[in-house]
Every structure is written in structure tokens, then in C-alpha cells.
């Protein structure tokens, strides 16, 4: 380990040290507000340190990790999403009985797992990051251990995620058997030298695809999504939809581009089938959904389908469109889950669509944020979702992936139906049924940040696209 190694590790080191310090603070004086403030400051420091690290790039650490502009950009996305979710969790967990400060420790370890995936350049770091993320998520999902739904969701995620990790590990082992190396570069070199892929290698990649597909909730591996999204606390559902998927997506894009997966015909067919299947399954299952959390879960399946299509283009343009799409989806979906978590009270989760009846007349500000998020998910102009979808379809048409683009357009129309349905419920007038909790300053700040981001990405996305152009060159 040299000095440069340590310096380039700074953002990850901050994320690693923060939970240890939180534990020490808890052992001295257990106070929710102090822990919350410290967590926010640490995440902000980690975010700022990304800019300090930037001049050292690109830097590799023993073939295990790679720090380049691409991984730094993903670290930025992960820290930003985690920051927003932390802001939204404040009100949600404030009233929880018993120990609740541990939530922030686990949130940090989960973020570390996702960040490791973003810098991974070797199967060992890939798998450790994957496991660190999974183990932290079991705990986050079942955090309210007194309630039934969170426990059920936690057990479900525990069993299914263990199976998917086993698949991933077995796939890695088979690839190692076939090629004798575990670094991404080594694998890429060995494959390009080999010519025809051996059957063991194909099965190995297939099994890895199962593990990755599970974490991204792509269609044949999507069974857990709706139950876990419903059972988990609302901020944690938002976390699963953004940070967890962002990390896995980062390592998937890097690995896929390193081994030039798109030039292999089998890989191409498998991924397009998964993409089309995900879009249709997600959207069709969401149509009749009466629970907003489950609805967002199903819509996340469809959105991940849109996202992996564009990787099949197989050049930097495709990766850039995918990353822009991901960023706008993350901001949007954090907005939706943020509204749910701010409207939830100690005993009741605001998750049924009828809970939102007449919300606009009671709480116009919250209703506007939710409307903005849903419109952005549906891809209406002036929001982030429109530009993202436009960008993806533009790149798809440019490289002639017509079948995929058409199924994406059909699905966008289906999606429009159920997003608009929720908006219509919010604007309908209804009798007062439930008492809404009051909004704290922290919640307000988070909602303002989210809605400004959605609008900026939708109205003036040029600077971000330029930035992605400059950063992402795989």
C-alpha cells in the first residue's frame, strides 16, 4: 500500500470509519439527533473528498480496485442518493421505539458495499461488496422487528439473496476454472485469446447473470421485489431501489464492457430477452396494484428493463445514456418513496393508494412533489424522466435496436396509465379520513432538493450530459 493508494481510498475510508465512530458515540451517549447529524456530515465529507481525489486518477490498487472518473462518478451518485435517503429517514425513524441509532451504522455499511461494487476490478472485491450490501440490507429491511411485514420481507430477502449470492459465487468459480484468473482485465484478455467460448465459461457467465439479475430485479428473478418493497420501511425501499441497484449496475456495466459481452451473440439474445420480459412483467403487474409501494416495486422492474437495453448498443454512447437514465430514475424514485415515508406515522404506513385521496387539497406541497415524481416516472416533458427516456430511445434508434425500442414505447404507454391513476386519486376530493403528520424542516429540505433536481434534469440537462460525456469513457 503506497501513499497514493491511501489517498485515492479516502472516500471509502471515510465511509468505513464513520460507522465505527458512530458505535463509539452510541456507547458514550445515545442520542438520535447527534448520530443523525454526524452521519450527514460524514456522508457530505465523503462526497467532497471525491473532488479532492480526482487529480490522482486513474489509479489502480493491486488489480483489486480501480479508481477512474467512471467509478468516481458512480461513487458520487451513490453518496448523493444515500444522503437524500438519510434526510428522509430522520422523521420516519424518529418515533421508533427501542434502539434506532443502529440504523445509521447499517446504512453506512450498506453504502460501503455499494461503493465497493463501483470500484471493483476483481471478483473478490465484487463478491465482498455484494455480500456486504446484502447483509446490511437484511438488517435494514427487518429493522422494525416488532411488525409482521418487515420481518416477513427480511426473511424473504435473506433466503433469496443468499441463493442469488450462491449462484454468483458458483459462476465466478466456474469462470475461474475455465480461465484461471479473477481480475476483470485478466478475464477480458483470456477471453479475447480464446476465440470460441468453452461451455463451462458460458454456464459461469449465466450463473453470474442470475446473481446480478436478482439484485437488479430483472424479470425472471423479480419475485422478491414487490413483497420486499412493501414490507421494508419506506426509506429502505427507496434505498434498495437506488443505492443497491446503482452499485450493482456500476459493476455490471464495467464487467460487461471489459469482457465485450455485447459482441457475443448468445449474451446479446439473453440480455434482450431479459430486458423485454422485465418491461412487460413489471408494467402488466403494476396495472391493478392498489399499494403504492408495490406499484413502485413493479415499476422498478420495468425501469431496469429499459436500462439494460441500452447497454446492448455496446459503445460509450449507450453507457452514457444508461447512466443518465439511472441518475434521473434514482432522483425520481427517492422522491416517491420520500413522500411515502414522510406521510407515514408511527403505527401506519401510508402505502395504500386510497391514503393519498385528496392529498392535493390537504397538503399541496407534498402532493406536488409526488406528482412531479410520478410524471417523471411516466416520462412527461419538463421532468427528468422525459429527457432520460428520450436519450435512451435516441441512442437505441441510432444503433438500430428497433425491436427493443418499440417494446419500450409500448411499455411507456402502459406505464402512463397507472402513474396517472395515482395522480388522479390525489387530486380527487374526498372526505377527511386520516390525520396527516406534520412535516419537519429536514423533510422539507429533502423534498425541495429532490423536486429541484427533477426539474433541473428535465429542463436544463445539458451540463449533466456534458459531464457524463467527459467522465464516462470505458
Amino acid at each position: 500500500m503506497t501513499e497514493t493508494d491511501f489517498l485515492s481510498l479516502t472516500p471509502l475510508l471515510i465511509i468505513t470509519i464513520a460507522p465505527v465512530v458512530i458505535m463509539l458515540i452510541i456507547s458514550i451517549y445515545r442520542k438520535y439527533e447527534i448520530i443523525f447529524g454526524f452521519s450527514l456530515v460524514s456522508l457530505l465529507t465523503a462526497f467532497v473528498s471525491l473532488f479532492i481525489v480526482q487529480p490522482l486518477l486513474p489509479h489502480r490498487i493491486d488489480h483489486l480496485m480501480v479508481f477512474d472518473l467512471y467509478s468516481l462518478f458512480f461513487l458520487g451518485i451513490i453518496f448523493f442518493s444515500a444522503f437524500l435517503i438519510m434526510l428522509l429517514s430522520h422523521d420516519y425513524f424518529k418515533h421508533l421505539e427501542g434502539f434506532r441509532e443502529e440504523y445509521f451504522i447499517i446504512l453506512f455499511t450498506a453504502t460501503l458495499g455499494a461503493s465497493l461494487l463501483a470500484v471493483a476490478n476483481h471478483f473478490i472485491i465484487f463478491f465482498l461488496g455484494f455480500e456486504l450490501l446484502s447483509i446490511s440490507l437484511y438488517i435494514l429491511i427487518a429493522f422494525q422487528k416488532k411488525k409482521d411485514y418487515p420481518l416477513e420481507a427480511g426473511i424473504k430477502y435473506l433466503i433469496l439473496a443468499s441463493v442469488s449470492s450462491a449462484f454468483l459465487l458458483f459462476g465466478m468459480a466456474l469462470i475461474y476454472t475455465a480461465l484461471g484468473t479473477m481480475g476483470f482485465q485478466g478475464i477480458a484478455d483470456a477471453i479475447s485469446k480464446m476465440g470460441v467460448a468453452s461451455p463451462i465459461l458460458v454456464i459461469g457467465f449465466g450463473m453470474m447473470m442470475v446473481g446480478i439479475g436478482f439484485k437488479l430485479a430483472l424479470a425472471p428473478f423479480h419475485m422478491w421485489t414487490s413483497d420486499v418493497y412493501q414490507g421494508a420501511p419506506a426509506p429502505v425501499s427507496g434505498y434498495i431501489a437506488t443505492v443497491s441497484k446503482g452499485g450493482v449496475m456500476a459493476v455490471f456495466i464495467r464487467f460487461f464492457f471489459d469482457i465485450k459481452g455485447f459482441s457475443n451473440q448468445d449474451f446479446f439474445i439473453v440480455i434482450s430477452a431479459i430486458a423485454i420480459f422485465s418491461m412487460f412483467v413489471g408494467n402488466l403487474l403494476a396495472i391493478r396494484q392498489q399499494n403504492l409501494k408495490r406499484l413502485l416495486g413493479y415499476s422498478s422492474i420495468a425501469n431496469m428493463g429499459y436500462l439494460i437495453i441500452i447497454l446492448l448498443i455496446g459503445n460509450n454512447d449507450g453507457a452514457r445514456a444508461a447512466i443518465f437514465y439511472m441518475l434521473s430514475y434514482f432522483v425520481t424514485v427517492i422522491g416517491a418513496f420520500g413522500v411515502i415515508s414522510l406521510l407515514s406515522t408511527k403505527n401506519r404506513e401510508a402505502e395504500k393508494i386510497e391514503d393519498f385521496k385528496g392529498l392535493f387539497w390537504k397538503r399541496p406541497w407534498i402532493a406536488i412533489v409526488l406528482t412531479l415524481s410520478l410524471l417523471s416516472l411516466a416520462g412527461i416533458p419538463l421532468t427528468a424522466g422525459f429527457i432520460a427516456k428520450f436519450y435512451v430511445i435516441f441512442e437505441g434508434v441510432k444503433s438500430g435496436l428497433m425491436l427493443l425500442v418499440f417494446s419500450m414505447i409500448i411499455n411507456s404507454v402502459i406505464g402512463l396509465y397507472y402513474y396517472i391513476r395515482v395522480i388522479a386519486v390525489m387530486f380527487s376530493t374526498g372526505e377527511e379520513t386520516t390525520k396527516l403528520p406534520s412535516l419537519s424542516i429536514i423533510g422539507n429540505v429533502a423534498l425541495t432538493m429532490i423536486s429541484i433536481s427533477i426539474l433541473i434534469l428535465g429542463v436544463y440537462p445539458g451540463w449533466l450530459i456534458d459531464m457524463i460525456m467527459k467522465l464516462v469513457a470505458l
Binding site: T16, P19, L132, S136, I139, I203
Partner: protein
């Protein structure tokens, strides 16, 4: 050499199946220990003495014994009805069918592939230790964070509320 491998492999497969299908938790755990021991024999035959020893010490020795003691102390070795229901063929047939396809696939792949033995030399614990503290030092550190997350989670999910009243005075 070969005959030892086949004996150990057969024992491993049979005991693993038994570990899954026994409804008595203690029996299942004892079978699992046997399966781990026979896998360590297989590893030993492959000249991987270090990992074979680790398998015995950590899995069969520490973790499984802990499991058995906890199961015995908590007295949860009894069968339950829910589990019995899960054993009817309707529940596992489809999964077993797909797993069977995957298994056939693997057999074909192994048969058709020309695999050269990756490492013919014996790897000693010293080499493992050196690579753990040089090349893979970061991975070891990350594993430490992973264990920390696990411990905190176990503490949070397992911790009991402080009781104000004595448990005999509580209303049932």
C-alpha cells in the same frame, strides 16, 4: 487415491440430502457436520491442506457445534406442521425440474471441456497467509467490516426490550 475420493464424495452428497430433508433439526445438523467433514477430505485429496483444515476447524468445529448447542438449549428440535406441509412434491417438483436441467447442463459442460489442472502444486498455509496480508489485504479488511455489520444486525434484531415489570406480573 481415487477410491477415497469416491467414498468421501458419496458421503458428502448423501449427508447433504439428509441434512435438507430431515425434519428434526438436530439430525439435520449432525448430517451437515458429516457432510462438511467429508468435503474437507475431498479438499485434502486435492492437496489443499490449508483449506481442508479450515473447513474442519471453522465450519465443522466452531460454527456447527455452536448451532447444535443453541438448538439444544432452545429446544427447537421438534418437528412442526408447517414444515411437513412443505415436503409434498407439489412444492418442490418444479424447482427440482429446473435444477435438474442445470445439473445436466453442468455435466455436459464438464464432459466437453478440456480443463487443465489449474494448480498442480501444494499450497501451504504460509503462502495463503502472505497473500492475505499483501495482495488481498484490502479484501480482508472489507471482510472485517462485513462481520461488523453482521454483529450489529444480530444485536439489533436479537436485543430484548428492558422490562419494567417482572415477567410473572405481566398480563398474558
Amino acid at each position: 487415491m481415487n477410491i477415497f475420493f469416491y467414498i468421501a464424495a458419496t458421503v458428502a452428497i448423501t449427508t447433504t440430502i439428509l441434512a435438507i430433508s430431515r425434519r428434526n433439526a438436530i439430525h439435520a445438523l449432525l448430517n451437515l457436520i458429516l457432510s462438511l467433514l467429508s468435503i474437507s477430505v475431498v479438499l485434502y485429496l486435492l492437496d489443499a491442506q490449508f483449506i481442508a483444515a479450515l473447513e474442519v476447524i471453522i465450519y465443522a468445529g466452531a460454527i456447527m457445534v455452536l448451532f447444535i448447542f443453541v438448538t439444544m438449549i432452545l429446544n427447537i428440535g421438534l418437528e412442526n406442521k408447517q414444515e411437513k406441509k412443505w415436503y409434498n412434491p407439489r412444492m418442490w417438483f418444479v424447482a427440482a425440474f429446473f435444477a435438474g436441467i442445470l445439473f445436466l447442463d453442468l455435466i455436459l459442460a464438464v464432459k466437453n471441456a478440456q480443463i487443465q489442472p489449474v494448480a498442480a502444486q501444494v499450497i501451504h498455509s504460509k503462502q495463503v497467509g502472505i497473500s492475505m496480508f499483501t495482495t488481498y489485504l484490502l479484501a480482508v479488511e472489507i471482510a472485517a467490516v462485513l462481520l461488523m455489520a453482521g454483529i450489529i444486525g444480530a444485536f439489533h434484531l436479537g436485543s430484548q426490550e428492558k422490562k419494567v415489570m417482572h415477567r410473572f406480573l405481566e398480563k398474558k
